[in-house]
């Protein structure tokens, strides 16, 4: 992508940003969150508020704690200090309470993590049927709806291994959608894909972003950040170093660390 296309879409996303931050309720809140892996301090004093319907892109160098941060939101990682609230409910307490809070959060992984022993349709119906006690027929209806939405309604009876990477990732998105989450987390959803498949996944994500769901997305797709994000968060060594609207972020980065990172990533 070139600098030109980046800038042309900036105005649009800037106005959305103001909307989202000023008027809407807070969906996710990090209060002084710290996390260690053994002795390794992976997240340092994270404070973050995400508003309802906001689209956030997190970027930063490898090992900076991006995955760790978003994995805390659905309790794939435990934190040692601080609090995380989702829809005003703290992500703490008994396993059941935590499960209830996490129910609002869906996640899409870099490696898709589809269940290879089940057909696409079974992948999608599994959680609605077993965790939400939905009747099979209803679950299938919803599943097919979402499969069509991501453009692969005709692959329902195949196994994940028979699909391309881009198709698998779209199935993974549909699978997350079947639980009707209010928040969707993406951890580098396009990094494991061949270049020609990145676009088909990004298109689905753009369509989702327009639907008003809260999205937090770790990605190095700067074009996506420019056109879709309300806010870009830059992390390094376990800290949030900079957070800005995309236009500001790409054109007036404040910190030297951010500038260096952007130079590197936009140069190739």
């Amino acid at each position: 992508m070139t600098e030109n296309t980046l800038n042309s879409e900036v105005k649009n996303s800037d106005t959305i940003d103001n909307d989202a931050t000023n008027n809407k309720e807070i969906t996710i809140e990090f209060k002084n969150v710290n996390k260690w892996y053994g002795d390794f301090h992976a997240l340092k004093d994270i404070n973050l508020k995400v508003h309802k319907g906001e689209r956030i892109v997190i970027c930063g160098p490898s090992g900076s704690g991006k995955s760790t941060l978003i994995r805390c939101i659905n309790h794939l990682e435990e934190i040692q200090e601080g609090r995380i609230y989702i829809d005003q409910q703290e992500l703490a307490g008994s396993e059941k309470q935590i499960d209830n809070v996490c129910r609002e959060v869906g996640m899409v992984f870099q490696q898709f993590n589809l269940f290879p022993h089940m057909t696409i349709l079974e992948n999608l119906c599994l959680a609605p049927v077993w965790a939400n006690k939905l009747p099979q027929i209803e679950a299938e209806k919803i599943a097919l709806k979402h499969l069509h939405r991501v453009g692969i309604g005709d692959q329902a009876d195949k196994y994940p291994g028979q699909l391309s990477g881009g198709q698998q990732q779209r199935v993974a998105i549909a699978r997350a959608l079947c639980m009707s989450p209010k928040i969707l987390l993406f951890d580098e959803p396009t990094s494991a894909l061949d270049p020609e498949m990145i676009k088909e996944v990004l298109d689905v994500m753009v369509e989702l972003a327009e639907s008003g769901i809260t999205m937090i997305c770790v990605t190095h797709e700067m074009g996506f950040a420019q056109s879709v994000a309300d806010r870009v968060i830059f992390m390094d060594v376990g800290e949030i170093i900079e957070e800005k609207a995309p236009y500001e972020f790409f054109n007036n980065p404040e910190m030297d660390r951010t500038q260096k990172f952007l130079e590197q990533i936009l140069s190739n």
Binding site: N74, G106, N113, H117, Y159, M179
Partner: protein
Amino acid sequence: MTNPTIFVPKPDREAPAQAKGFLHWLKHHVFNGWFNSALALSLIAIIVLTVPQVIQWAFIKATWVGDSANCKTSPDGACWSFIAAKFRVLMVGVYPAAESWRGIVGALVLAILIITTITNHLKGKVLIVAWLLLPVFGYWIIGGGFGLNEVDQSSWGGLMLSVLLALVGIIVSIPLGIVLALGRFSGSPITKSLCIGFIETVRGVPLITILFMSSVMMPLFLPPGFIIDNMLRIQTGMIFFSAAYVAEVVRGGLQALPKGQFEAASSLGINYPKTLYLIVLPQALRHVLPPLIGRCISMFKNTSLVIIVGLLDFLGMIKSASLDSEWLGFETEAYVFGAVVYFSICYSLSRYGAHLEKSDPVLQK
């Protein structure tokens, strides 16, 4: 802008003639290099020298009907009438003749179960439940009770006993082994060390020792008045032995599962027990199918050790039949027959395992 040149792919051509055909294959796969050629030639020599003799003995000069006197007239040929005369004993031992039909019914039920399984007519839960009920059915149809005459265990024997011990051992030890394997991954240190302790102890001891312990020593440790009969004790010993190995096999499958599978399940709100049942075990078991089939095969062969603790299984019956004074000198036939039966069963199992592996869309990558 100029019009783009349109790319036209070249049509496929047939492969050159010398790349095909039997001779080409021989040249490139069998006689490629002096080592393989020597190997192939020695193999041909061995076949040419032995196979005609075997055919002479087993078919051309063999005696198929009559009594031992008939056989003695053709000493260079096999005496298959010996097998025919001893067939009942080899199959069911000294099981009462009036109740022999029960062995046949048992075999029929097993055959139906096998056929419906390999033809995919039984699927999912029904299939699993049917196989899990088989041990109970087996002990009932052979042992009696609940409407059937009781048949004393001392008269159970032959191939029927081997199959019973092996089937029950395998069927019960697989769920037990799975539980042990899961226990190894448990968060509770007590569960974990109990499971590891059991697995390592059993694996550190030969099966014969376990059979001895269950047959001879277990009664000494049981509380007074609490009696388990010999057959069940030996069966229990075999189940424990097999379970320890199944647990190790399953553990491999569990470890091979990517962490992402657990994470995906958790992020979909599927709790841990359901994750195990719906996602972890189906995948782990698929991947350990070949070694699991291998365990079944060795379990079946292992049953021949029960002769040590006084049960007359198939091999035991072969041995005792060849000691019959009327048929002395035909033990070769008996053991050849035994080998053919063992081989057919084990080889079929192994082929079925390979077929499962090949036909499973999930294992195709």
